[in-house]
C-alpha cells in the first residue's frame, strides 16, 4: 500500500506542464552558475566542484516548488479526508510524501548528465571526488525535501507552503552555530561544533570525504524534520 501512495504522490508532480518548466529552470540555473559563476571552463574543474558548490542555494529555491503541493493540496482539495480514511499509518503517509519529493528532486538532478558527459570526454576527472560530492548532494536534497514537506503540512495554500519551505531551506543551509556562539563552540568537540552547520558538512563531501558523522548529520536532520511532519499530521486527527 505504501507503493500505491508513493506512485500517486510522485505522478502528482508530473501532472502539470509546470513541473517540466521547473526542471528546465533548474537545469538552466545550475548550468549558468556552474559555467559563469563557478568558471567551469576556466579552472579545469576535475571534481565538478563548480557545479556542486552552488547546489544547496539552487535546491533551496527549487525543492520548495516540488514539495509545496504535497500536503497543502491535499488540505485544499479535501482529499486529505479520503487519505485519512485509508488504512494507512500516518508515518507511511509522511514517508510517501517525502520519498516522492526526494525522488522527483533526484530525477531533476539528471540535468547534470550533459556535464558528466563533458567531464568524461574532455577533462581528466577525479571520479572519487565527484562521487563523494554526489552523495553529499543526495543527502542535502533529502534534508531540503523533508523541510519542504514539513512546510507544506503547515498550510492549505501551496504558495504559502513555498514561502515557508524557502525560508526553512535557507535557514537550514545558512545557519551556523559558530557565528552565534563562537566562544561556546570553541570548547565543543568537532561533531557538536558543526552540529547545526549544513554548509560545513556539505563542504566535507565536496572535499571528497564521506564522513560517517556527516552522513549521520544529514540523516538525523532529515529524520527530525520528518518527525515534526508526522506530529503535525497526527495531530490533525485530534484537533482538526
Amino acid at each position: 500500500m505504501f507503493s500505491a501512495l508513493f506512485k500517486r504522490d510522485l505522478s502528482g508532480f508530473f501532472y502539470s506542464n509546470s513541473a517540466y518548466f521547473v526542471f528546465a529552470a533548474y537545469a538552466l540555473i545550475s548550468m549558468l552558475m556552474c559555467i559563469f559563476k563557478g568558471e567551469y571552463f576556466f579552472i579545469g574543474d576535475d571534481s565538478l566542484r563548480s557545479f556542486f558548490v552552488f547546489q544547496p542555494q539552487i535546491m533551496a529555491l527549487i525543492i520548495p516548488i516540488i514539495t509545496m503541493r504535497g500536503w497543502a493540496e491535499e488540505y485544499r482539495s479535501s482529499t486529505v479526508e479520503v487519505l485519512m480514511s485509508f488504512p494507512v499509518s500516518t508515518l507511511k503517509m509522511v514517508l510517501s510524501k517525502f520519498f516522492s519529493a526526494w525522488c522527483a528532486a533526484l530525477i531533476m538532478s539528471l540535468a547534470v548528465i550533459p556535464l558528466i558527459i563533458t567531464q568524461a570526454l574532455y577533462i581528466d576527472s577525479d571520479w572519487g571526488s565527484i562521487f563523494c560530492s554526489f552523495i553529499g548532494f543526495v543527502l542535502g536534497c533529502a534534508v531540503l525535501c523533508a523541510a519542504g514537506t514539513l512546510a507544506s503540512a503547515l498550510t492549505a495554500v501551496p504558495a504559502v507552503a513555498y514561502v515557508a519551505g524557502l525560508t526553512f531551506s535557507f535557514v537550514i543551509i545558512n545557519f551556523n552555530a559558530n557565528a552565534i556562539i563562537p566562544r561556546l563552540s570553541d570548547n565543543l568537540p568537532f561533531f557538536f561544533e558543526r552540529v547545526f552547520d549544513f554548509s560545513a558538512w556539505y563542504q566535507n563531501f565536496l572535499n571528497g570525504q564521506v564522513n560517517p558523522a556527516g552522513v549521520f548529520y544529514f540523516v538525523a536532520l532529515t529524520a527530525l524534520l520528518l518527525f515534526f511532519n508526522w506530529l503535525i499530521i497526527f495531530n490533525r486527527r485530534e484537533r482538526q
Binding site: 500500500m1 507503493s3 500505491a4 501512495l5 506512485k7 500517486r8 505522478s11 502528482g12 501532472y15 502539470s16 482539495s77 479535501s78 482529499t79 479526508e81 479520503v82 485519512m84 480514511s85 485509508f86 488504512p87 494507512v88 499509518s89 486527527r237 485530534e238 482538526q240
Partner: protein
C-alpha cells in the same frame, strides 16, 4: 457492527457533537438527517477516523477505533462531502489506486470493478481524467472508490447530491442491495432522500441526536403527515440554540 458511545467532539468552545449514542447493525441502512451545521459530517469524519473525538468511544466490530485504527479503517468505505478526488488521475487509475491501498487481490479488484462499472454506469468515463468529469460522474466515481474494496461498513456523505433523478434512483437501489450484507450510513439534509432510502433515521440538530427512529414512525408523528413541518419543529427551523 458499529457502536457509538457518548461521543463528544469540540472545536474550541463550539461543541459539534454532544453525547451521541447509537448502534448500527448488519442489514441496516441509516440516514443521518439534519439541517446544515447539525454535525452530520463531523460524526461521519469521526467514524472514519479523520477526526478523533474528545470523549466517548467508537467501536467497529467490537474494536475501539482509537486503539485499533488501521483494523477499523480496513472495514470502512467512506466518501466525504463534495467528493474530493485526485483530478490528475483517470477514473480507472483512481479505482486501481484505492484497490491497492486496501491491498485487494487482482481477482477481487477485477470482479468488484466490473460490478461498480455496471451499477454506477461508469463505463464511458473509465479512461477520462477526473478533472474533466461532470459533477454526477465525479460523485459516482467517489461512491465507486468507497465501495471498490467491498467494505463491511459503508459511509457516504450526501451521495446523491448533484445526480439526476434516474441516477439517484439507480444509486438508491444499489445502496439498498448493498445494505443487505453491510450496514450503510448516509447523510442528507433532504427528507425525500431519507424517505426513499432508509429504514432508520437519526436526526441531528446542534450536535445532539434528537431522534433515532424508524422512518414510518417518524411519518406517523408528523402533523397531518407533513414531514417538512415535523422536521422544522424538531430542528427549531434550523436555528442554532
Amino acid at each position: 457492527m458499529i457502536e457509538i458511545r457518548g461521543l463528544v467532539k469540540k472545536f474550541g468552545s463550539f461543541t459539534a457533537l454532544d453525547n451521541i449514542n447509537f448502534k448500527v447493525q448488519k442489514g441496516e441502512i441509516v440516514t443521518l438527517l439534519g439541517p446544515n451545521g447539525a454535525g452530520k459530517s463531523t460524526l461521519m469524519r469521526c467514524i472514519c477516523g479523520c477526526l478523533l473525538p474528545d470523549a466517548g468511544e467508537i467501536l467497529i466490530k467490537g474494536k475501539k477505533l482509537r486503539e485499533d485504527l488501521l483494523f477499523c479503517l480496513e472495514k470502512i468505505g467512506y466518501m466525504p462531502e463534495n467528493t474530493p478526488l485526485y483530478p490528475e488521475m483517470s477514473v480507472a487509475e483512481y479505482l486501481r489506486f484505492t484497490g491497492k491501498v486496501f491491498q485487494m487481490s487482482d481477482d477481487d479488484f477485477k470482479k468488484n470493478l466490473s460490478l461498480m462499472i455496471e451499477k454506477l454506469d461508469l463505463s464511458s468515463v473509465m479512461n477520462k481524467k477526473i478533472s474533466t468529469l461532470s459533477k454526477g460522474y465525479r460523485r459516482r466515481t467517489g461512491v465507486a472508490g468507497a465501495m471498490i474494496h467491498r467494505p463491511e461498513i459503508l459511509i457516504l456523505d450526501e451521495p446523491t447530491e448533484g445526480l439526476d433523478p434516474n441516477q439517484k434512483q439507480a444509486l438508491r437501489e444499489f445502496l439498498k442491495e448493498y445494505s443487505l450484507h453491510s450496514p450503510v450510513i448516509i447523510s442528507t439534509h433532504l427528507l425525500e432522500e431519507a424517505e426513499n432510502l432508509s429504514s432508520r433515521v437519526l436526526i441531528l440538530n446542534n450536535g445532539k441526536l434528537i431522534r433515532d427512529t424508524d422512518f414510518k414512525d417518524l411519518k406517523k408523528q408528523a402533523p397531518r403527515g407533513n414531514l417538512n413541518q415535523l422536521f422544522y419543529e424538531l430542528t427549531n427551523g434550523g436555528k442554532n440554540v
